[in-house]
Symmetry: C2
């Protein structure tokens, strides 16, 4: 299969660099084709701005969405954006690997999403009607592809637990899992997490690499997070609130995950 | 008082630009001193990297935290970073204004936090012991200052409601409110939110500006979000989980907010 790794870390000789290299080798040994978007090494342009389109729709007033739609539809996107979109279309699975900085991804990767996720490609796809609100949240350009986060954090696992001070990791990652990956149609796998990165010695690294290898081996068989589909009947349209009989009384992120059936 | 507006939008002739200009004028008319960090206009360097320190601690291996600590402690930070820190120290209140892109801030503002929030300035402050885990989550360099988000979104308010498909706005903003503002000690005010930005005509703009003006008038009197203090007795140290008798049975983001007393 074809696997894209989108990777953001400023130092190759780091835990992140080692785990990324391990993933590439492990996936290739299993017979997969692998591409890596090493954002720091590529000097990825982080900031979305008027230079992202080769020919402006409106040279006097920059509207990010309208310019993105126009550039995407007319082959006028910046070449670096189009190249990343081509990698996404090529991939059967995408791994996003980054250190958790301020409870989210580094700016360079946020800028990858801001710029590569064009209008007509990742949003503004499909028709709006009484029964559909665009192809998103379970449908879209990434439908049929899988995505998984690999995230390292300096903090302790307990700090990110259900009652930990940072908030539960699953909730901190919800805007990424649900809002950036489920949104354009990816099947989102549970993340691979590494905590207390300052305390990784050779033994622990071997354990981590082994565990990551197991996750890579099951990339195409593991059960994705059961996020609800927007147009599957669970939501009122156009309000896009859960119907009263769906997860009755529940609020917040967890209401958008179909519970396990015992 | 001294008020800093950190602002991220690529087009001056936009709703965001108009609201930012309104805020500056309104605050100045009220007698405040105002500085604006207009990140796009400043061509803010978005990506944290080895160029952020003028003299490397270790030229062969870039460790972001260690280099940040060394540069901050020894006056070797990049000048743009030191200038933003000086503005933060000058300010009595800070407003962060941005459009919601992919359920978070634009990359250019994430890069402002990644780079300006240095080790020794915004994290790694204070001592760790059996009763304290550093000066953070209610203590730190920003203690005594107020912060407020001004956030615009294209989506409908119902899409961000308690059972809305995007997740509740308060939860989407928790990693910013709690993890980036409460963390270094800010008192965090409820956000000022604008939804359906594509449907703002003159009448609605006047209503929005009036409401924003009222929020600016009460910047120093409004009650902040009641996030719990890390070292105030509610958390076990070093696990940093809520003590069993605090918000018993509660999990997730809301457990870290002290409930209203009726």
């Amino acid at each position: 299969m074809n696997i894209l790794i989108v990777y953001a870390h400023p130092e190759a000789k780091s835990l992140n660099g080692a785990l990324k290299d391990f993933s590439v080798a492990h996936l290739q040994q299993a017979g997969h084709q692998v591409q890596v978007s090493d954002l720091y090494a590529m000097h990825w342009k982080t900031t979305l701005d008027a230079d992202d389109t080769q020919q402006r729709l409106d040279p006097l007033h920059f509207d990010a969405s309208k310019e993105s739609r126009h550039a995407f539809a007319n082959g006028q996107q910046s070449a670096d954006i189009a190249a990343e979109q081509a990698k996404l279309l090529w991939a059967d699975a995408v791994i996003f690997q980054f250190p958790l900085w301020w409870f989210s991804m580094p700016a360079i990767m946020k800028g990858w999403f801001d710029r590569v996720y064009a209008y007509g490609f990742a949003y503004g796809v499909g028709e709006h009607s009484d029964t559909r609100w665009g192809n998103r949240y379970g449908e879209g350009s990434m439908q049929g592809k899988r995505a998984m986060l690999v995230v390292t954090s300096g903090g302790w696992e307990s700090h990110y637990s259900e009652r930990g001070i940072n908030g539960p990791m699953a909730d901190l990652l919800f805007p990424i899992h649900h809002g950036m990956l489920h949104y354009p149609g990816f099947d989102v796998l549970p993340p691979f997490l590494v905590h207390r990165t300052s305390r990784v010695d050779e033994d622990r690294y071997a354990t981590l690499a082994h565990a990551l290898g197991q996750r890579l081996d099951t990339l195409f068989s593991e059960t994705p997070i059961a996020f609800r589909a927007q147009n599957g009947g669970d939501y009122q349209i156009p309000q896009l609130t859960l119907r009263d009989d769906v997860a009755p009384g529940q609020t917040g992120f967890h209401a958008h995950v179909i519970p396990h059936r015992p």
